[in-house]
Amino acid sequence: MSGTVSTPSTVARFADGLLTNELPLLSDDRRREVIDFIGRRVQVLPSLTRFGVLMIGRFVDVTGMIVGHATMRRFVTKLPIPLLAEYPRLVRSLGFAYVWETWPDTTVDGGTGVAP
């Protein structure tokens, strides 16, 4: 997946994979909107944090090209490696917060539910 106007392509690719895996019923339109939001937040992160996120994002992306993006995503989301583990945590936190704030009736797998 290529990056959108505001989302670096490495972050967009990782976010897309993570959201597809963890919220499989989230529609393509919504997923793109969430990725855009994640990208906007990454762009306004404080200098050092943004640099770190983009570097880790690039590392994860390049390694993913070798071992497979899904394998790499499972690796960084499951193993508690300092700093590296913060990357999926940030992406997931931003994405999930946006999903349920914007569409509060979303089901746990990302589907469109009935308003609670």
Binding site: E22, P46, L48, A97, Y98, E101, T102
Partner: protein, 480 residues
């Protein structure tokens, strides 16, 4: 093209410290110019505690972090009125024993407890500090009920709110700086420039002479007689460091670290407990000052956020968000942090180190908070740390406590202070007893950075009282 401004007193920042300073000095006849990095956002134009509000009124969209193990997420207001526009509006006078400790430990002159508390009384009048006149929200009643059953000390914290609807009102109108001290300063002739980022204060020896700013990509310069930096506990030290001032600046960041949990209650029995645009006004103070418990904003997005550490096990609860509310356990920390401006970087590097005692206390706090929730009839409690179990019984709390490690928790804070502590003890303090930066003739600090330690309670009252005290002293000494 460069725009030029001139003023007697340049005030950097418009939050609890900057707005009060501006009002006092403008009313004393000084030509005051306030510069604010963020925009002016009218109250009511954004939904409280929402992502939209974070976009418009928080620094970096609310995603800021003090690096460490664990890293601590924090938030800073970045708008006219600063943090007063976005915080919970709960008001606590500084505890008397805290004021006395600060006075003696940091050699703060003219710091009589009675004088500070008398200013607090003025602030309470100016901000209409009062309890909620009507019924409390379900989230508030939960905290009260749980603590009462345990026999733990708890109570309603008054807020700086007005209640136009009168006696039965449950929703107030916050009396933040854009509604109180900023209009007061404008009435006395003060001016404000919003969306102006301060890049650098230019010094000539002991005197600061001008400021360089950026507005919409264009350079702005301001010549002044004196400058008062009120950018908050993170930006103030960074601004001073970029001006070449480093003595005891940015080395003693103090915060109230918090850990959170979400609790689910039976809708049939308790109704909807989630009030997305409000927080609990009750706090549990049984273990104060070491730890206290309160309620957090519980927008559905924030509920999802609080569950993400264990999404596989907790995620299904998100669809029941109207039955969930988020609560926190806050501690007074013995750890300290650093704020470090780095040449070429726009933002400072912030770090924080929790001590072993802090990490243990966070675990104890979370366990006790879970106990309050169960006593309040929570069906399920979801602690916000990786690997946490769902807590349904007292026995589960033991399991939770054994699995807890601060390094696995989502630790955050909204109370930041002490990065330019005041006092005449130059070995400990960055400024004198009234905020004048040591080694300068005309650079002052007047915000949360001055508090020598985290006060153990919501700090806005402490910040405002000290800022008013210092501004009055300034006005007495320098005729407008």
């Amino acid at each position: 093209m460069t725009t030029h401004h001139e003023c007697d007193v340049l005030i950097v920042g418009s939050g609890a410290g900057g707005a009060t300073s501006a009002a006092i000095l403008a009313e004393a006849g000084h030509d005051v110019l306030i510069v604010e990095e963020g925009p002016w956002v009218d109250q009511g134009s954004v939904s409280p505690f929402s992502l939209d509000q974070m976009d418009k009124q928080y620094r970096s969209g609310g995603v800021t972090v003090a690096l460490g193990v664990p890293s601590i997420a924090y938030t800073e207001g970045r708008c006219a009125g600063g943090g007063t526009e976005v915080n919970s509006g709960l008001y606590w006078r500084p505890p008397e024993e805290t004021l006395e400790r600060w006075r003696s430990r940091y050699s703060i002159k003219d710091f009589a407890t009675d004088d500070i508390l008398a200013i607090c009384e003025e602030v309470e009048h100016s901000l209409s500090v009062q309890p909620v006149p009507g019924e409390h929200t379900a989230a508030s009643r939960i905290l009260q009920r749980g603590a009462d059953k345990l026999g733990w000390q708890n109570g309603e914290i008054p807020r700086w709110m007005t209640y136009p609807e009168g006696a039965g009102a449950t929703q107030g109108r916050r009396q933040s700086m854009t509604r109180t001290y900023l209009p007061r300063s404008f009435d006395a002739g003060a001016r404000i420039l919003c969306d102006h980022r301060l890049d650098k204060i230019v010094r000539n020896g002991r005197r600061a002479v001008s400021a360089q700013l950026t507005h919409a990509g264009n350079p702005v310069t301001i010549a002044f007689r004196d400058v008062i930096v009120c950018g908050g506990a993170i930006q103030t030290p960074a601004i001073l460091q970029r001006a070449g001032l480093r003595h005891r600046i940015g080395r003693t960041l103090a915060v109230h670290p918090t850990v959170k949990l979400s609790a689910k209650f039976d809708a049939a029995e308790h109704g909807a407990v989630n009030t997305p645009e409000d927080v609990s006004v009750f706090q549990v103070k049984e273990f104060a000052p070491n730890m206290s418990f309160g309620g957090s904003a519980s927008h559905p997005g924030l509920v999802a956020l609080a569950l993400t550490d264990n999404w596989r096990d907790f995620g299904k609860a998100v669809t029941k968000w109207p039955e969930l509310a988020i609560y926190y356990a806050a501690i007074t920390s013995e750890g300290r942090g650093m704020v470090q401006a780095v040449p070429g970087m726009r933002d400072p590097i912030v770090t924080y180190r929790l001590t072993k005692r802090d990490r243990d206390l966070l675990g104890q706090g979370l366990a006790r908070l879970a106990t309050v929730m169960l006593e309040a009839d929570a069906e399920e409690v979801y602690p916000a740390f990786k690997g946490a179990p769902i807590v349904r019984t007292r026995a589960d709390i033991g399991d939770m406590a054994s699995r807890f490690a601060a390094s696995k928790a989502s630790v955050m804070t909204v109370h930041l202070c002490s990065t330019a502590p005041m006092g005449d003890d130059e070995k400990r303090c960055a400024t004198d007893s009234h905020g004048l930066v040591h080694g300068t003739d005309n650079v002052f600090v007047n915000d949360a950075a001055l508090l020598p330690e985290a006060p153990g309670v919501n700090p806005q009252a402490s910040v405002m009282a000290i800022a008013i005290r210092n501004a009055r002293r300034y006005a007495d000494q320098r005729a407008g």
